[in-house]
Amino acid sequence: MMIPLSWYLILAAALFCIGTYGVLARRNAIAILMGVELMLNAVILNLLAFWRYGEPTTAVGQAFAAFVYAVAAAEVAVGLALVVVIYRSRRTTDMDQITLLKW
């Protein structure tokens, strides 16, 4: 007996919402990055679930997941580097005080 697909999808949606909440509501830049990671992981979970229930004979879902991990790792590296640079210039990682994106 298999766990139905919808359970995976609900879990992934929950994980995505938690990540989104983290991105939108946290003040610390590091925490926001962590939220981004959660959202990515939710997407991967979705991907794998659909692969298992759709085309289990080929390994494309796993391969895709592996690519996303690699990209996510690189993305985190860039993100953390940005945070470090911002911290160096502004002595803070508090997103409320970083209001550069305006005219």
């Binding site: 509501a25 926001i32 997103m95 409320d96 970083i98 209001t99 994106l101 305006k102 005219w103």
Partner: protein, 696 residues
């Protein structure tokens, strides 16, 4: 090319070299003084040679042959409705003789100017002006119609103005220049009216077509003019004579000539004695057929009566003034007026040959006298007051002897001077035709002899009466040379006009010149020379007596006991108040000043202060004030209503709204933006599901 064509060409070319010299000096040679005078004299010499060639050739032909076939060329110049005004040259005996004396005196004076103007800062300019002047005089002489003559006449007027005011640093010089220009302008304008009137009547201005055409003259004589009782010929004659009155400085327009002596002396000699003022007389001699038409029916035509009256009056009038002048050049200026008046009077009584003869001899001896006075002025360090001269005969021998010759010629010293023969001919005619004129002119001759002797004695005899005169020196050969040449003419030129029945000398004249050469040659200007009045010993002895008496009295008063330094003129004591009037020239300048100059200035003042400043400027300033007020109102409207209310107002409104929006939405925080992204994503997804996605 045969001889006639050559002569025509040369006649056309005669006025040109001085004009080229003028252009070259003005445009290129201004800086080089020696080059300037070389060019001017060279050009004048060229004109001189051409003029002499023409003259001697036509002399060979004889007057009557020249009258039959004058040298005449003309080309259409100003085409008007149906006829073209023509431009051309015309040489008849009168023109030939005029060319002869004009070219000689001009050349002599050009050369003399080298010495007189030496060291002047505007030396080149002087030669440019006199070259232009020579163009004017030569051009006037060879003109074949009145319009061209008038143009050259005005060129000379301009040069006269420029040269009188040549030393314009002196207020007296520029005032004299303006006075000369304006005074002669009166005559010129009247003359131009006459020319225009003549043109409307005949449709031509050519001398050939009017003066040598009996029918035209007759027609003019019988046509009544706009002025009642005057024929067209008489009206035109009077109008043209007005030009002569201005140019030849006859009363009442004589006032400019004495003042014109402010110019350099060569100018006084050339323009104001030998040529330009002679041009006035030349004009009336030239127009004589028109002026005298209808003479056979009456004692005198109106223009001739006017000439006789004005000429006789001016002759005596100017001579009396000359008696009381102390400036060496002013004496000569009044004597010029007086001598020109002799010619005018001679024309008035019909003696046009005598007038032309006196014109030529006068040009020679008066140029000589002026150049002599210039030599005196230079020699005695720019002293012009005769009272401060004296004793110059020993110091300036050449000047003295030539001046003496000129003075004797002016006085009409018998036999040996040219002035005697020409003046005698005028007096002989006057005796025959009009005794009143004769007695007046004889009185004038007496005065002339007197003031000439006075001038010679005061200037050259006795002891020096000033420091300058004491250290006087003879002038260089460029100045004395022309004096000697002119002196020869002043002595001997008269022999070409000895009356044939003059005792003894008439035979000599016949032997040398086939009789009265001048009479026959110039007389042929109007066809056949009129018969000269028979020899009459009475006028001759009277004129000789007048001349000798004048000279004797002059000698007794000033020569026998020369004035000492500081001594007053004995005339002052003898004449008393009369002398004062004479010295002040009958107060005519003052009278003109009061009657013409002052009202003109007053009128100008009224026009300026009231009409210009008050009325015209008032209107203009009012308009300006009005637009200024309008501008202020407009500016206020613009600034506060248009700019403030509409243009800037709407822009400010938009700006304010934008600013509010920006402050509300654009926080700069990424998370705020992400929230709006999320919001819209959800909204669109919801919309998609509601409107599109529900349909399976």
């Amino acid at each position: 090319m045969d001889l006639r064509q050559l002569l025509e060409l040369l006649t056309v070319l005669i006025p040109l070299p001085p004009f080229l010299a003028f252009a070259l000096i003005v445009l290129f040679f201004n800086r080089w003084k020696r080059l300037s005078h070389s060019v001017a004299i060279g050009a004048m010499a060229l004109s001189f040679l051409m003029a002499q060639f023409v003259f001697w050739t036509v002399v060979g032909w004889g007057g009557e042959a020249l009258y039959e076939h004058p040298i005449a060329v003309s080309i259409p110049w100003l085409p008007s409705a149906d006829v073209a005004l023509e431009m051309g040259v015309f040489v008849d005996p009168l023109t030939a003789v005029t060319l002869f004396f004009v070219s000689i005196t001009c050349l002599a004076i050009f050369i003399y100017s080298v010495g007189y103007m030496h060291g002047d800062p505007r030396y080149s300019r002087f030669f440019a002006y006199i070259s232009l002047f020579a163009t004017g005089m030569l051009g006037l002489t060879v003109s074949d119609n009145l319009l061209m003559l008038f143009i050259f006449w005005e060129i000379m007027g301009l040069c006269s103005y420029l040269l009188i005011g040549f030393w314009f640093e002196k207020p007296s010089a520029y005032r004299a220049a303006i006075k000369a220009f304006l005074t002669t302008r009166i005559g010129d304008v009247i003359m131009l009216i006459g020319i225009a009137y003549l043109y409307t009547q005949t449709g031509t201005l050519s001398f050939d077509a009017i003066l040598r055409n009996e029918e035209v003259l007759h027609e003019l004589a019988i046509t009544p003019s706009v002025i009642p009782t005057l024929s067209v010929a008489a009206a035109v004659g009077l109008l043209i004579f007005a030009g002569t009155v201005g140019k030849s400085a006859q009363f009442p327009l004589h006032v400019w000539l004495p003042d014109a002596m402010e110019g350099p002396t060569p100018v006084s000699a050339m323009i104001h004695a030998a040529t330009m003022v002679s041009a006035g007389v030349y004009l009336v001699v030239r127009m004589f057929p028109l002026l005298s038409v209808g003479l056979e029916h009456a004692a005198g035509t109106p223009p001739m009566v006017a000439m006789a009256v004005i000429g006789t009056f001016s002759a005596v009038f100017a001579a009396t003034i000359a008696v009381a002048q102390n400036d060496i050049k002013r004496v000569l200026a009044y004597s010029t007026i007086s001598q020109l008046a002799y010619m005018v009077a001679a024309l008035g009584i019909g003696a046009y040959i005598a007038a032309a003869f006196h014109l030529v001899t006068h040009a020679f001896f008066k140029a000589l006298l002026f150049l002599g006075s210039g030599s005196v002025i230079i020699g005695s360090h720019h002293e012009q007051d005769m009272m401060k001269m004296g004793g110059l005969a020993k110091r300036m021998p050449v000047t003295f002897w030539t001046f003496l010759i000129g003075g004797l010629a002016l006085s009409g010293f018998p036999i040996i001077t040219a002035g005697f023969w020409s003046k005698d001919e005028i007096l002989a005619h006057a005796w025959a035709h009009n005794p009143t004129v004769f007695w007046a002119l004889a009185a004038g001759a007496l005065l002339t002899a007197f003031y000439t002797m006075r001038q010679i004695c005061l200037t050259f005899l006795g002891e020096p009466r000033s420091h300058h005169a004491e250290h006087a020196h003879e002038t260089p050969w460029v100045m004395t040379g022309p004096l000697v040449v002119l002196a020869l003419f002043a002595l001997f030129f008269g022999f070409v006009g000895i009356p044939e029945d003059f005792p003894v000398l008439g035979e000599v004249g016949k032997g040398l010149f086939h009789g009265n050469w001048f009479h026959h040659f110039v007389g042929a200007t109007i066809g056949k020379a009129p018969k000269a009045p028979p020899f009459d010993p009475v006028p001759v002895s009277l004129s000789v007596g007048a001349a000798l008496l004048g000279l004797l009295v002059g000698w007794l008063v000033y020569g026998r006991r020369p004035l000492a330094e500081g001594q007053t003129d004995p005339l002052v004591r003898w004449l008393g108040p009369v002398h004062t009037i004479l010295r002040n020239k009958y107060y005519i300048d003052e009278f003109y000043h009061l009657v013409f100059v002052r009202p003109t200035i007053w009128l100008a003042k009224v026009a300026y202060e009231w009409i210009d400043l008050g009325l015209i400027d008032g209107i203009l300033h009012g308009l300006a004030r009005l637009s200024e007020v309008w501008g202020i109102v407009s500016r206020w409207v613009h600034r506060y209503i248009i700019d403030g209310g509409m243009v800037d107002g709407s822009a400010k409104l938009v700006g304010a709204i934008g600013r509010e929006f920006r402050q509300a939405l654009q926080t700069g925080q990424v998370q705020h933006y992400l929230i709006s992204v999320l919001f819209f994503l959800c909204t669109f997804a919801l919309l998609y599901l509601l409107y599109l996605g529900v349909t399976p």
